[in-house]
């Protein structure tokens, strides 16, 4: 099976390189991320090639330990792959130094974690403004308000993270990821710690961003219902892309496909 996948993938690459795709916000080519050396070597990603098109909403799914988080980290420039190339908006991340990479991430990439990761000493509004300040810009209050309103947070801007609910904290985290108008927004299980209702709100928010602002969104999830909000589902197993679902996505279809995948690992 690995053999067959390998050939189709090579075919894919050939076809895509013939017609340079200007719409891809992020491209991964043969990306390998291995931990440890020798006998203890574990390849969390084992030759992943995938594109995330501009204005698309992609869900990444797969069994636990299949490399979803690693894929996201590599694609976002948070981690450096041990092999292959990652390109964001036409820039090869491998050619960038630590500072240049950070500057690129700051300008082009937003990242949302399952566990929010807000700076505890700062208020919600200060957390959102943080990327701008790091970029040396003075945040425009109107812009801040607009971003907070966009994620449905008008009131609690003055509160500190430990005074906010989980859903509110995740909205602050999303607002922080969006404030610099990134080319692509990555979210690693953004609803993993939230109840069903709050999860729906967050997912609807992401969908709106894609539909109204042509925001590129890549989201890791375990939940077929959450994945159904996306345009496309990329399925990962053992660090490889094993399948893709597109078109009208129904939660049941995704769930069935996932169940078929489970025994594979």
């Amino acid at each position: 099976m690995a053999q067959r996948d390998g050939t189709t993938r090579r075919h894919d690459i050939a076809r895509r390189e013939e017609t340079p795709d200007l719409t891809a916000a992020v491209r991964l080519r043969e990306v390998v991320r291995a931990y440890g050396t020798g006998a203890r070597r574990v390849a969390a990603l084992d030759g992943v090639t995938v594109d995330f098109d501009r204005g698309s909403f992609t869900a990444v799914m797969g069994p636990s330990g299949s490399g979803k988080s690693t894929l996201l980290h590599c694609a976002a420039g948070l981690d450096r792959p041990t092999g292959g190339t990652v390109t964001i908006d036409g820039t090869d991340l491998g050619t960038l130094g630590e500072t240049a990479l950070t500057l690129l991430r700051r300008a082009r990439v937003g990242f949302v974690f399952q566990s929010y990761n807000l700076v505890p000493a700062l208020t919600a509004a200060q957390n959102v403004a943080l990327p701008l300040r790091l970029a040396g810009r003075r945040p425009d209050p109107a812009e801040l308000d607009a971003t907070l309103a966009e994620v449905g947070l008008a009131g609690p801007g003055r509160h500190r993270p430990d005074e906010l609910s989980g859903g509110e904290q995740q909205r602050v985290a999303i607002a922080r990821a969006l404030i610099s108008r990134p080319a692509v927004l990555f979210a690693d299980e953004p609803t993993g710690a939230l109840d069903t209702r709050t999860s729906r709100d967050i997912l609807r928010l992401l969908r709106t961003l894609v539909d109204q602002h042509r925001q590129t969104v890549v989201m890791v999830t375990h939940d077929p219902v959450a994945a159904a909000y996306a345009d496309r589902v990329v399925l990962l197993a053992d660090g490889r892309v094993v399948d893709e679902l597109g078109g009208e996505l129904a939660a049941e279809t995704i769930a069935a496909r996932m169940t078929r995948l489970e025994p594979a690992c």
Binding site: T99, R106, F113, A121, Q126, L130, L134
Partner: protein
């Protein structure tokens, strides 16, 4: 905004650097102010003389300060006459001084220093000027004018102790200044040679003209001092006191500076280790490595600016009081006052900022290396407590320390303390770096019984310490340093003092020793009360051998005013019996008899080109000169001076000299030899070991004071580091402590665990801290006992160690239990759960 918010939220982590910088800058501004103020002053005694004519200085005997070599009596008279004749000079007063001390209620009072005699000729009171408050000038030989603060009235009787012994005087008058004034012809035979002539100048005289005329009179035979230059006439003793004070102050300040850097560096480094998550988070959100580095620098600068400001204010405010303290301690001459000037505190402020930036340097580099993803991991477990640079640095430093220890065992006496200090610095540094390797086995051993206890505390303490190896290593490092340095400094001083004393005691073959009590030395009357060998120290001068002059100090040779020699007057036969260390290299010691002969050390003989049998030309302290024959050349250090002369020769040329000690054969003490020694004025009979131990008591007291100051500074600083590290560590463990509370522990149990963990840290730090100085002290002991060929006792000052450990323990417990208590106040549902910090 970011750094300000971070500052507010992280005050626990910044308290240590703040206090360290604040104290460091305070210390530096105080010291700088004192150093700037510590300039020679015109001595009060000469304040009223517009022009001073001083004899030429001779470079000091090694280890002492330059002295002025007296003129001969004839030359003095000649100079005084011609100086008095200068236009505008109303009087030329030779300063004649001799040892004098009042005896009140049967006891000598106000012990004057050896180099600062208080007896003077009456005419020199006009140089200050000290004026008669009551009575009249001394006229008869038994009349004295003295300080009114002694409380004696004109017409009363007073006993004065001089070099010859006690004598009764009638108080003729009192003056408004210190000293005892006799009629000039009476003072002259008691006084040492004249080194200074003060000129009283008429108000309308032209000072420059007087100066020029005086210079023409003395020629190359002296220096003319006017205005502020007259400060050069201060007693060499004050120069020495100031020099010692400077040494101590600069050592203290340098230590404070370096230790501040260490405290700032270690707390910031610890802070970075604790804030990896926060930094990772900032990196994820888009902070570049450079921005994190700048964040650290900003924090350090903010802390430095505030700390240095407080420090400068504190230091400037405390400087006058500290100056007075230094005078009391003998580190500044009497009369010293601190002048407040703006630039020393300003300089200290800048140094404070630089220290803060230097301290944060390595921590900022580490902060910059934090990877974005580190925000996502729970980094409680120290997976890699040892970095490669830690291994390399630790092994190199330890190896260097061991090498120095080996060298130390074979070092000369002067190098021993230096080697010990460097060796232990290297060893301490090495141990601190290797602590993550050493801590687990130590913890394992120390806590082995704990896990067998029924309660949870023991298990928690053991597991926490074993898990957070690096934290345990970081928190025990300051304790290691504190204990290590305290034990090393105190132990090496105590051990070497003891070693010197037992060496000296071993070299003296006497039953007991008559030593001064309440006086700077023994008078001839005191010496005469016991049979034995007396030691009468003095200074004589040698002109280079080619100058075959008459010995007067006028020879204008290349070396200027000649070479000063530390001489001692002894009774030759008695001396040979008493001295058990004598080692004759050439000549015959028994040929040393009578005032025409002398014994010299090899070092001096080499320097002056003398050999046994030669004639040597000497200049005496009264300004005259003469010839002696070198009877024997002996090994350096085998006699208590550079040159031995007959006692009567020294007495004849140095009427003011005092005897250092009398060695007597009797061991029976006060009762056995028919003399009631308690009745001997200004003297006391002691055993040989006591004499050896007390011989350099004054010197030892200064050394010990300096030692205590250095221990205090370093221990104080490392204690700050200890408290601060524990404070940060505890504050950082809020979540963990709340988890314990939520798991059903009572507040008491949690606090007990925290206290027990602190105790463990203290125990590990103390154990490692005792290791280093023990190695160094053993090496010092073997080096000293080899040098002196006597068994040397290893003195470990237990009380100092106990005090340091107890002080640290109290501080450490407060710094860990108190914040834990604050954290637990919120109860099991407390809001610290969400917080990263």
């Amino acid at each position: 905004m970011l750094s300000f918010a971070a500052l507010r939220a992280r005050w626990t982590g910044l308290l240590g650097p703040f206090i360290a910088l604040c104290l460091g800058v305070a210390l530096m501004s105080t010291t700088a102010l004192i150093l700037v103020s510590a300039q020679p002053r015109v001595p009060d005694r000469y304040a009223g003389a517009a022009v001073l004519v001083a004899a030429r200085t001779v470079d000091g005997i090694p280890g002492t300060f330059p002295e002025r070599r007296p003129w001969s009596p004839e030359r003095t008279a000649d100079l005084a006459g011609r100086l008095a004749a200068i236009d505008g000079v109303t009087a030329a007063v030779p300063d004649r001084s001799f040892y004098a001390q009042a005896v009140l209620d049967g006891r000598p009072v106000g012990e004057p220093a050896l180099g600062d005699p208080q007896g003077h000729g009456w005419s020199s009171a006009a140089l200050a000027p000290y004026r008669l408050v009551a009575g009249s000038a001394p006229v008869r030989p038994d009349e004295v004018v003295l300080d009114r603060s002694l409380g004696l009235d004109p017409g009363g009787q007073v006993t004065l102790l001089t070099a010859t012994g006690p004598a009764d005087y009638t108080v003729a008058g009192t003056v408004d200044g210190p000293g005892f004034y006799l009629d000039d012809p009476v003072a002259a035979p008691l006084a040492r040679g004249v080194r200074l002539i003060g000129l009283l100048v008429a108000d309308d005289a032209d000072p420059t003209a007087v100066r020029a005329a005086a210079e023409a009179v003395v020629g190359p035979d002296g220096t003319v001092l006017t205005g502020a230059d007259r400060a050069e006439a201060e007693p060499p003793r004050d120069t020495r006191t100031r020099w010692i004070g400077m040494q101590v102050l600069t050592a203290m300040t340098a230590l404070a500076g370096f230790v501040s850097i260490f405290v700032v560096a270690s707390t910031f480094a610890f802070g970075v280790a604790q804030r990896r998550r926060e930094f990772g988070l900032l990196r994820t959100v888009g902070a570049t490595p450079g921005q994190l580095r700048r964040l650290m620098y900003t924090e350090a600068l903010a802390v430095g600016a505030v700390g240095a400001t407080v420090g400068v204010v504190l230091g400037t405010a405390c400087a006058p009081a500290f100056g007075a303290l230094l005078v009391d301690a003998g580190f500044q001459p009497v009369g010293f006052r601190v002048r407040i000037e703006p630039w020393p505190p300003a300089a200290a402020y800048l140094v404070g900022l630089v220290v803060a930036l230097l301290g944060v340097w390595s921590a900022s580099r580490r902060a910059g290396r934090v990877r974005p993803l580190e925000a996502l991991r729970e980094a409680v477990l120290d997976r890699r407590p040892m970095t490669r640079s830690r291994w390399v640095g630790g092994i190199l430093a330890t190896a260097l320390g061991l090498l120095l220890t080996v060298l130390l065992a074979g070092a000369g006496p002067d190098d021993i303390v230096n080697y010990a200090l460097y060796a232990s610095m290297a060893l301490t540094g090495g141990l601190t770096l290797l602590a993550p390797v050493l801590v687990p086995p130590l913890t394992y051993a120390l806590t082995w019984p704990l896990e067998r206890l029924p309660g949870a505390t023991g298990m928690l303490v053991r597991r926490n310490a074993l898990t957070a190896v690096r934290r345990t290593a970081s928190t025990s490092a300051p304790m290691l340093l504190t204990v290590g340095f305290a034990v090393l400094i105190a132990g090496s001083v105590a051990t070497s003092t003891g070693a010197y004393a037992s060496r000296d005691a071993g070299a003296i073959r006497a039953g007991s020793v008559l030593v001064p009590a309440g006086t700077p030395g023994l008078s001839d009357a005191a010496v005469a009360t016991v049979p034995g060998t007396a030691l009468l120290p003095s200074t004589v001068y040698a002109d280079p051998s080619d100058a075959a002059t008459t010995g007067t100090a006028t020879a204008g040779t290349a070396t200027g005013a000649g070479v000063p020699i530390a001489a001692a007057g002894v009774d030759p036969a008695g001396f040979a019996q008493v001295n058990g260390r004598l080692s004759v290299l050439s000549g015959d010691f028994s040929a040393f008899r009578g005032p025409e002969t002398a014994v010299v050390t090899a070092g001096l003989a080499d320097q002056l080109g003398w050999a046994a049998g030669d004639g040597a030309t000497l200049g005496y302290p009264d300004g005259t000169g003469g010839q002696v024959r070198v009877a024997a050349v002996v090994a350096d250090g085998s006699i208590p001076a550079q040159l031995l002369l007959a006692r009567e020769l020294v007495r004849a040329h140095d009427p003011s000299a005092l005897t250092e000690a009398v060695f007597t054969a009797s061991t029976t003490g006060p009762d056995g030899d028919g003399v009631d020694h308690r009745a001997v004025l200004g003297a006391r009979l002691v055993g040989v070991p006591e004499y050896a131990a007390e011989r350099d008591a004054a010197e030892d007291r200064l050394v010990w004071l300096a030692t205590l100051i250095l221990i205090g500074v370093s221990a104080g600083y490392t204690a700050i580091a200890l408290a601060n590290t524990l404070l940060m560590a505890t504050a950082h463990r809020a979540r963990e402590l709340l988890v314990l509370l939520r798991s059903g522990a009572t507040v008491r149990q949690v606090l007990g665990t925290v206290a027990a963990e602190t105790g463990l840290v203290l125990a590990i730090g103390t154990a490692l801290g005792l290791l280093v100085p023990t190695v160094a002290l053993l090496a010092i002991r073997s080096a000293l006992s080899e040098q002196f060929a006597v068994p040397v006792e290893l003195v470990v000052p237990g009380s100092t160690i106990g005090l340091v450990v107890a002080g640290c323990a109290v501080l450490a417990l407060v710094a860990s239990v108190l914040p834990a208590r604050l954290i637990l106040r919120t109860g099991p549902g407390g809001g610290a759960g969400h917080r990263v910090e």
